[in-house]
């Protein structure tokens, strides 16, 4: 196994008494795209949020480039090179597009991405840069959110439900930039409910159900039927337990 850039080991996360993620492990090599799929409530968002530092784990470890991130705050993890584009975009509504991007540069590492590069990647953004972010459409906001994370030049990008609330065309558009990012050396983990988009974008897939990994493998090698069964927990004990 090549040394992985992002290494998650036996991660267990609780929300109060509820166990949201159970013994999750994942190794992501540099330049890989891994998709984590699963139904609502499966624990995918909790997983990403914990990786980003917004939530603390009960046990297990998260390491980036060999360095343990456990005690670091989210802004410190960003400085190490781990960025999360959160679910629902979460732009700053009272700031303009450009101000949103500038916030992202606050603890930026050095790298190919700066605000100009983001405008190159999304040409329409240049003209709209002085508009309040709240006035943009869903797809446009998603692009700004991605740009905001990119300008920090992370090594690993986490995307939480990138296509949520977007029209199919907007979702496709935003996903079309992923290959460009990978070409540029980015390592990506996506959490996605849309199976089609997930399987297209990723080389590897893990399926979560009630916090546990119930299926994993190469995206190309996975059988649709098997995925759906794992997704909904049909035929497994998990679907009927209390």
């Amino acid at each position: 196994m090549t040394s992985s850039l992002l290494s998650v080991r036996d991660l267990t996360v609780h929300h109060g008494q509820l166990c949201a993620v159970r013994d999750f492990s994942l190794d992501v090599a540099e330049g890989e795209v891994v998709a984590i799929i699963g139904a609502n409530g499966a624990g995918k968002s909790t997983l990403l949020r914990t990786m980003a530092g917004l939530h603390s784990q009960t046990s297990g470890s998260i390491a980036l480039g060999g360095k343990d991130l456990g005690k670091l705050r989210p802004d410190q993890r960003l400085a190490e090179g781990l960025a999360l584009v959160p679910e629902g975009r979460r732009l700053f509504p009272s700031l303009t597009v450009e101000e949103n991007l500038r916030v992202g540069t606050h603890r930026a590492r050095s790298g190919p991405f700066d605000i100009e590069k983001v405008y190159e990647t999304f040409p329409w953004m240049l003209e709209r840069r002085r508009q309040p972010a709240a006035l943009l459409s869903g797809g446009e906001q998603q692009a700004v959110a991605v740009g905001r994370a990119l300008v920090a030049n992370p090594r690993v990008l986490l995307f939480d439900e990138l296509s949520l609330g977007l029209s199919p065309i907007a979702a496709k558009t935003i996903y079309s930039i992923l290959p460009k990012l990978v070409d540029g050396g980015m390592t990506i983990v996506i959490v996605e409910q849309d199976l089609g988009l997930a399987l297209q974008a990723a080389s590897r897939v893990q399926c979560l159900l009630e916090g546990r990994v119930v299926l994993e493998g190469e995206a190309s090698g996975l059988d649709r039927v098997a995925i759906e069964a794992a997704y909904f927990g049909v035929g497994t004990r998990a679907g009927t337990s209390l």
Binding site: A52, G53, L54, R73, P74, D75, L78, A79, A83, L84, P86, R90, L91, F92, P93, S94, L95, E99, N100, R102, V103, G104, H106, R107, A108, R148, A149, A152
Partner: protein
């Protein structure tokens, strides 16, 4: 009876209220905190000036040079220690904690300094005034304070909109978590916002202490006036706060013209009227939640 003079004095008093109010407005806008000890902190600034400044050989006019930095640093520390802990528990707890602080402060001051009034002695400057005609008298100190208030509010506005730190503070105020994910250390930024607010509180307390006597219990009135100014002008708008402060001052002075004991009552009535008729305030941009 001079209505013109009443209006002029009201506008000038508005300067003081604006200085008191902008810190309250900032803290609420950034952290959602209503600091019930706000007024008392201004009173403490007055006492600190009276106690510390004489030993520095500075003229009392320059007492803010000593007190404002102390308050800024103190504000940062207070936020990072006590207030953040209260905030972590919720807005409810924060209110109760700041109320507790208010009670502690007033009574501690009472124990230490007795209920006698104090003032910051600026000598003859207090009497300097310009009298354009026989009924209107414009005190030098009041004009200066109004000028300072305008500069402070303008400065705050520019700081928030034009500087990187100000931008980060606005981002944190919008969405704390998203700001963290973008690299902002929100606790540190809250500390900075509190430091700024406390600096303005110190200015307000000193300005007020120069103009009139203050007592350990003066904090209550300060808090109510600051709060009324913010609500009248509109929560969420710094310019609204300035406008609200001036209107409050004018209302009070007009009330005083009718009957001296109606002065503060007039302000309360204006506040209640705005609440009843136009709850978002005159320039309000946000709901009063």
């Amino acid at each position: 009876m001079s209505w013109v003079n009443a209006i002029v004095q009201g506008i000038l008093i508005g300067g003081f209220y604006a200085l008191f109010a902008c810190g309250l407005s900032l803290l609420f806008g950034v952290m959602g905190v209503i600091n019930l000890a706000h007024g008392d902190l201004a009173v403490i600034a007055g006492y600190v000036a009276v106690v510390l400044v004489p030993s520095t050989h500075l003229s009392m006019v320059w007492s803010f040079v000593v007190v404002v930095p102390i308050f800024a640093v103190g504000g940062y520390i207070l936020q990072r220690t006590l207030l953040q802990k209260a905030l972590d528990q919720g807005a409810f707890t924060t209110l109760l904690v700041t109320f507790g602080l208010s009670v502690i402060t007033e009574n501690a001051l009472l124990e230490n300094f007795t209920s006698n009034g104090q003032s910051i002695n600026i000598g003859n400057l207090i009497a300097d005034s310009w009298n354009p005609n026989s009924t209107v008298s414009i005190a030098f100190i009041n004009v200066v304070v109004l000028g300072v208030a305008v500069v402070v509010i303008l400065g705050l506005h520019l700081f928030l909109t034009r500087t990187p730190t100000g931008r980060l503070i606005r981002a944190v105020a919008d969405d704390k978590e998203a700001a963290q994910l973008s690299g902002a250390n929100f606790r540190h930024l809250f500390g900075i916002a509190t430091a700024i607010a406390m600096a303005t509180v110190a200015l307000a307390g000193i300005a007020s202490g120069m103009q009139t006597e203050f007592f350990p219990t003066s904090g209550t009135a300060n808090l109510l006036f600051a709060f009324e100014a913010v609500v009248i002008g509109g929560i969420g708008s710094l310019r609204g706060t300035l406008l609200g402060a001036i209107l409050l001052g004018v209302a009070q002075e007009i009330g005083a013209q009718i009957n001296p004991s109606y002065q503060i009552l007039a302000g309360h009535l204006l506040f209640l009227a705005i609440l009843a008729l136009r709850p978002q305030g005159l320039l309000g941009v946000r709901e009063a939640i």
